[in-house]
């Protein structure tokens, strides 16, 4: 979309200077380090060792690594599922219904995005850990433990990615307005029919978009998970925790291999997102 207006199309030395600066800045800050990661991932661990895809694959096939990725995917799946159900529901309530405290709730549901992941982890510990938490003892007495278990990881992950689905749906719901829904009501559709046949088709792409964003965020969550997880091999060690543990234990090749997988997942998410945007616009 070139600017046809002459006033913007004119190019001077400043134009080229700024262009060169931006390219250089992004190259040094982002592109080059990424390139370096790819190199390290496929480099031989020691002089004389095999490098390349074979070595990369071998590092990923280690049982502790597959455990970590399995755990990460499980946690992300549940967190995204919960956030999607909650997100669609709360968005509809916030946009379409009137109830006391609606405005304050709409501010509060966005809060998790702004809270440091470390604080999220700490908050869950202070609420639910046995011994330190407000409700820890009570939960322990019924045999339910949050901190150090998979449910705790799911909660931590759900917390940090909570607003993502809502952020996508709310603007769309506001834009489409309630006219079609009211028309459906007047034609005799009940609440569920109206939702399934009128509302859902129009927010479909927003939901998919929100799900992709939540998935990307959930797979990569580190800070909150770090605090609520025991974080040891085969015990609550997610992919991100594994990267930290291996890197600090001088097992850098494994750290890089796991990191590379997550980089690919993020890039994939970016691609999917841009495809969805295109689909949505057409």
């Amino acid at each position: 979309m070139a600017d046809t207006r002459q006033i913007r199309a004119r190019k001077g030395p400043v134009t080229y200077l700024l262009r060169a600066f931006v390219i250089a800045y992004l190259a040094v800050l982002v592109i080059w380090p990424l390139f370096e990661v790819a190199q390290q991932t496929f480099a031989p661990a020691d002089v004389g060792d095999e490098g390349g895809v074979g070595a990369f694959w071998e590092r990923l096939s280690d049982p502790s690594v597959t455990y970590a990725f399995n755990l990460t995917v499980t946690v992300a799946f549940w967190a995204v599922l919960i956030n999607t159900l909650f997100g669609v529901g709360i968005s509809l309530l916030l946009v379409r219904y009137q109830f006391p405290g609606r405005r304050i709730l709409s501010v509060l549901v966005d809060l998790p995005m702004s809270v440091s992941p470390v604080v999220v982890g700490l908050a869950l510990v202070l609420a639910y850990s046995t011994g330190k938490g407000w409700f820890g003892e009570a939960l322990a007495s019924v045999g339910f433990y949050v901190i150090g278990t998979t449910p705790g990881l799911i909660m931590a992950t759900a917390f940090v990615s909570l607003p993502l689905v809502i952020r996508e749906i709310v603007p769309v719901l506001e834009e489409i307005g309630a006219d079609a829904e009211m028309a459906a009501h007047s034609l005799g559709a009940n609440g569920w029919q109206t939702f399934r046949r009128i509302t859902l088709p129009s927010i479909k792409w927003a939901v998919v978009y929100g799900v992709v964003l939540s998935m990307a965020r959930s797979l990569g969550e580190f800070g909150a998970v770090k605090i609520v997880s025991p974080g040891a091999e085969f015990r609550g060690e997610t992919a991100t925790l594994l990267i930290q543990n291996r890197y600090t234990n001088y097992e850098e090749p494994t750290a890089y291999a796991a990191a590379f997988v997550l980089v690919l997942a993020s890039v994939l998410a970016l691609v999917v997102v841009s495809l969805i945007r295109k689909e949505d616009h057409s």
Partner: protein
């Protein structure tokens, strides 16, 4: 052209309409109830527990924790680094947005995607990515581990998209007529930028900067591997919380966490004020 993985725009708050359209029905009422219970269990109660823990020993204890020389040094370092990074981003982010919107050159679309990468990457991976170029095995021979420059670089990396992604849409929407009007009134390109374009961008720059500042203050994952966590030197607030927690000092952790929470809330309020002001100007 502005696909973004996590659009760092403001919160998806509902607009100023006084209330929703529908009254709560029994079904939607139950839905609201379930949503509120889950939201309380996941977010509100844990955050309340943090505030509770910080307030436990009274204000004096809270204050003495923060005033402790080592904690204070960590807080000061966090704020100073965040401010520096925010200042750099305000300028460079605006330049990047400008080039991406106004300039045309091959490969521009790739740069546009590159902007989102720091956001899409898991934070621990972001740290690792930077270390692959600037770490102990740096091909450049520059090692940023355990230096303040390293912290600065990591924060610059993770906050890259904020200003760019808030300024970009505003720049796209800017009316070419207005620039033509300024030109026909005799304003040079520099004057037009300074007196006409820049003032229109200020709210977006401010919004992006405050989001970036909040992120920088609370950043954890990307710093774990880079900051050596040396007291007085390279210890930041989020790592201090982790250290308190590992040392079984919940009150200390909570005190620092509350401070970060306050920053998060202040940021949300600032963003709200900015968006209201912009809405008023129309």
């Amino acid at each position: 052209m502005t696909d973004t993985l996590v659009a760092p725009s403001g919160p998806a708050r509902t607009t100023s309409r006084p209330g929703g359209l529908f009254r709560l029905t029994p079904t939607s009422g139950v839905g609201l109830g379930v949503a509120l219970v889950w939201f309380s269990v996941l977010v509100l109660l844990p955050l309340a527990a943090v505030v509770g823990a910080a307030a436990d020993g009274g204000f004096d204890r809270f204050w003495s924790t923060l005033a402790d020389a080592q904690t204070f040094a960590a807080l000061r370092l966090t704020v100073v680094e965040a401010l520096l990074v925010t200042a750099v981003n305000a300028v460079i982010g605006t330049i990047v947005a400008w080039v991406l919107v106004r300039d045309q050159f091959p490969g521009k679309r790739i740069l546009d995607v590159v902007i989102d990468i720091p956001f899409a990457l898991p934070t621990i991976v972001a740290g690792l990515v930077l270390l692959s170029l600037w770490g102990p095995e740096s091909p450049m021979g520059i090692n940023i581990v355990n230096t303040r420059q390293g912290i600065f670089l990591a924060l610059l990396f993770v906050t890259l998209p904020f200003v760019v992604r808030t300024v970009q849409p505003v720049l796209i929407e800017l009316d070419a007529d207005v620039e033509e009007a300024a030109a026909s009134l005799g304003a040079s390109r520099v004057t037009t930028f300074r007196r006409i374009i820049l003032p229109s961008l200020v709210p977006a720059i401010a919004a992006g900067s405050s989001l970036g500042f909040a992120r920088a203050i609370s950043e954890f994952g990307s710093l774990v591997l880079i900051s050596g966590n040396t007291p007085y030197e390279t210890e930041v607030a989020s790592l201090k919380i982790l250290k308190f927690l590992e040392g079984d000092n919940q009150a200390g952790a909570a005190a620092v966490a509350v401070l970060l929470l306050v920053v998060a809330i202040v940021t949300i309020v600032i963003l709200d004020l900015i968006s209201r002001r912009v809405a008023r100007r129309g």
